[in-house]
């Protein structure tokens, strides 16, 4: 009897899953997340798949951001592109230029008859991925912004009250003097130097990084980050590097390990560093707004985002695009977004997700986690702080990294280095303009 029952059940479930498999339309989703973030993405996909039976999203990890973009491009050339491709913000101009390869998100949504309100998204996040006519081309997925992390135990050891205001670089400079005087080996380090100390630095002080509204208004944009505000900041950082107050660890987030291990006192890094720091830091830490230079007119403006958005690729069936629309709508639903924001330190991309997090009492329990949100949304973005849209930007960042390294090692003055970066970067912008004609 019992045996028979199990058999029937088994047969039934096999039958069910077989019909489900036949009816399900597969949606390929390529992303760049590993570790904790990879698990969270897998969980989102799993939740979506089990919430309905029409579509099945298949998520694949394709390496880091650059590698994922390259995999997508190579796949497109071979006619094997996924439905949804994660592209980091730096690749935005490349994707926007590839009109025949992408299907804009607003079009996916309207073709599928899905409800879609672009205004639900936070302005500074949305602005990065929409055309000047307000049409959303890709769906914001993970967005973060740089903040200042401090090791309060290290500050105390150097005789600095951890409640000291460190919201300007002048104040940070004084703290660095004290840390250095107390013999600290790594008073300040940074991750993503170009993103934080040039791109965000420019937006935060309301000075242009590039002409033509940082590239938003046209492909004939030219770099302009060799202005006095940027040069002054970098020269100060260079002097700090010479005095052993700023320790350079590498181009990506190499400094993160040092900070989490407690060997660096201050650390400029993405707000998304939260998950790792919270997990590993064996000391009292706090997150503070990114410092600005007091006396610069308009500062602090707002910071800009880093992270990735989801692009829908051309060349699939309309039935599959319906699944894509469903999946994207699911990802930006309040529940999912609020959870993502709280787990990772990435920004909530919709206002509703931010509100929910506040109502949940998350910010009270985890002080400082709302700083990134406030920093990005306190002021309406200007043409200088809406974001960046530059072609070949991955390569330009490489150039900037090289020139910044020349400042840190004392080979060049900040002005020389930035003049050189502008000259070299402009050549790439002209090539991109030519290729996109």
């Amino acid at each position: 009897m019992f045996k028979n029952l199990t058999k029937t059940l088994l047969a039934g479930s096999v039958l069910l899953s077989a019909t489900a498999a036949m009816a399900e339309t597969e949606v390929q989703f390529w992303h760049a997340f590993t570790g904790r973030l990879g698990e969270l993405v897998a969980e989102q996909v799993e939740t979506f798949n089990s919430s309905q039976s029409d579509y099945k999203v298949v998520a694949s990890h394709k390496g880091n951001y650059s590698e994922t973009l390259n995999a997508g491009i190579a796949a497109f050339r071979a006619g094997e592109q996924p439905h949804v491709l994660m592209v980091f913000e730096v690749g935005t101009a490349t994707m926007m230029g590839a009109k025949g390869a992408i299907k804009p998100v607003y079009e996916v949504m309207s073709d599928a008859g899905a409800s879609f309100d672009p205004n639900a998204y936070i302005g500074s996040v949305k602005g990065y991925y929409t055309t000047t006519d307000g049409e959303m081309l890709s769906l914001p997925f993970n967005s973060s912004t740089p903040v200042l992390w401090t090791n309060n135990d290290a500050l105390k050891a150097a005789g600095i009250d951890p409640s000291t205001d460190l919201s300007t670089w002048q104040q940070v400079g004084e703290a660095l003097d004290k840390l250095k005087a107390s013999g600290h080996e790594c008073p300040l380090t940074t991750a993503w130097q170009s993103w934080i100390h040039l791109e965000n630095m420019s937006a935060y002080h309301n000075v242009p990084f590039a002409t033509k509204d940082n590239g938003f208004a046209g492909l004939d944009t030219e770099l302009s980050m060799n202005g006095p505000v940027q040069v002054k900041h970098l020269q100060t950082m260079g002097d700090w590097a010479k005095d052993g107050k700023f320790i350079y660890k590498g181009r990506r987030n190499e400094g993160g390990a040092d900070f989490r291990a407690g060997s660096c006192a201050m650390f400029t890094e993405s707000s998304a560093g939260y998950a790792g720091i919270k997990k590993e830091a064996q000391f009292d830490f706090s997150v503070r707004p990114l410092p600005y230079w007091e006396g610069v007119e308009g500062a602090p403006q707002n910071t800009i985002i880093g992270g990735a958005s989801l692009w829908v690729m051309q060349g699939h069936e309309s039935e599959e695009y319906k699944g894509v629309a469903d999946f994207l709508n699911f990802l930006s639903s309040t529940e999912i977004q609020a959870k993502w924001h709280q787990n990772t330190g990435y920004l909530p991309i919709t206002a509703a997700a931010g509100d929910k997090t506040r109502l949940d009492g998350f910010y009270e329990d985890n002080p400082g986690t709302d700083i990134a949100v406030i920093q990005m949304t306190a002021k309406a973005p200007t043409a200088n702080s809406k974001g960046l849209r530059l072609g070949s930007f991955d390569q330009i960042r490489g150039i900037i990294d090289e020139e910044l390294e020349a400042i840190w090692s004392g080979d060049k003055s900040a002005q020389e280095a930035m003049d050189s970066a502008v000259e070299r970067g402009n050549k790439l912008l002209r090539r991109f303009e030519q290729a996109s004609r």
Binding site: F76, R77, T94, K249, G250, E402, S409, Q434, A435
Partner: protein, 293 residues
């Protein structure tokens, strides 16, 4: 006079060389022609359109002072890699050749590093010299030497050279060792009877007899340092600091696959093709003349 085999008719010889021609055609001539064709265009990354620019890509390249200096970087790098991988290999081979006990174990141990993939070797060396957790950099710090290959170009170059040459020593060792074994004992014994000491014998008899092997290894190692060291550079320095370790082939990769600039990347491959072709001609024309077979 060289011995020649003559065939009657064309059928058999053509049939015999056909596989080689086919392989060269598919894996060499076709891609090379593609590269030359692509180097005349600026395509967009997705391959949706391409602008014909004639020699514009080459103009763009040679107006870039970093590209020009990458020739010097490549020359320095490949010379150092070749030297660092051949000299110790020869030295070790000479020592192993004189061993009586445990020679087999010794040889096997020396050959092992060759089995390590370049990228993995890169990561291993990177760990040892890591500025934060590296063993070697820690000892250097004890000696009051501040190791930082992230900012110091000399140290970066030294590190990628050592990491690239390390696994290669095994390969060279293998060839030198085999060559040493085939040096006729009678010649050496005769010299010994005439009163020549070990090093005298080595430089006047053994080394000249090794010259075909040395020449072969020279060519192979230069080609290796040009093309196959890319994994090491990618993992250790990514071409930095300030492009101090960007060799030509690494730039082909980074411009093409990181920067999505396939036109420039193709033009660089064409330049590389010419450079390596010229190098090989020089080697066979001038260096080979001094080789005794």
């Amino acid at each position: 006079m060289e011995k020649r085999v003559t065939f009657r008719g064309w059928g058999l010889p053509l049939l015999l060389v056909f596989p080689q021609i086919l392989i060269s055609g598919v894996f060499f001539f076709y891609p090379a022609a593609q590269a030359i064709w692509q180097s005349l265009f600026i395509p967009d990354p997705f391959g949706l359109s391409a602008q014909f620019v004639g020699l514009g890509n080459f103009e763009f390249l040679f107006s870039d002072r970093f590209y020009r200096s990458s020739f010097i970087t490549t020359a320095v790098f490949s010379t150092l890699v070749t030297l660092v991988s051949m000299v110790p290999a020869l030295f070790l081979a000479v020592l192993a050749d004189r061993l009586i006990k445990g020679a087999g174990t010794y040889r096997t141990m020396l050959i092992w590093p060759y089995a390590v993939a370049p990228a993995v070797a890169g990561v291993l060396w990177l760990f040892m010299f890591n500025t934060r957790v590296g063993v070697v950099s820690w000892y250097l710090a004890q000696l009051a030497y501040d190791w930082n290959h992230v900012l110091n170009d000399g140290e970066a170059m030294g590190l990628v050279v050592v990491a690239s040459a390390w696994g290669r020593i095994s390969y060279n060792f293998l060839f030198f060792f085999a060559a040493l074994q085939s040096v006729p004992k009678s010649v050496i014994e005769a010299a010994a009877i005439d009163g020549a000491r070990f090093w005298k014998r080595f430089f006047t008899i053994v080394l000249p007899l090794l010259s075909p092997t040395t020449f072969f290894l020279l060519v192979v190692n230069i080609v290796y340092s040009f093309f196959e060291t890319f994994g090491v550079i990618h993992t250790i320095t990514a071409g930095g600091p300030q492009q101090a370790t960007t060799i030509l082939v690494y730039k082909v990769f980074s411009d093409g696959f990181v920067g999505q600039d396939l036109g420039s990347s193709a033009a660089q491959s064409v330049v590389l093709l010419v450079v390596v072709g010229a190098l090989t001609v020089i080697q066979f024309k001038y260096v080979e003349k001094r080789v005794h077979y």
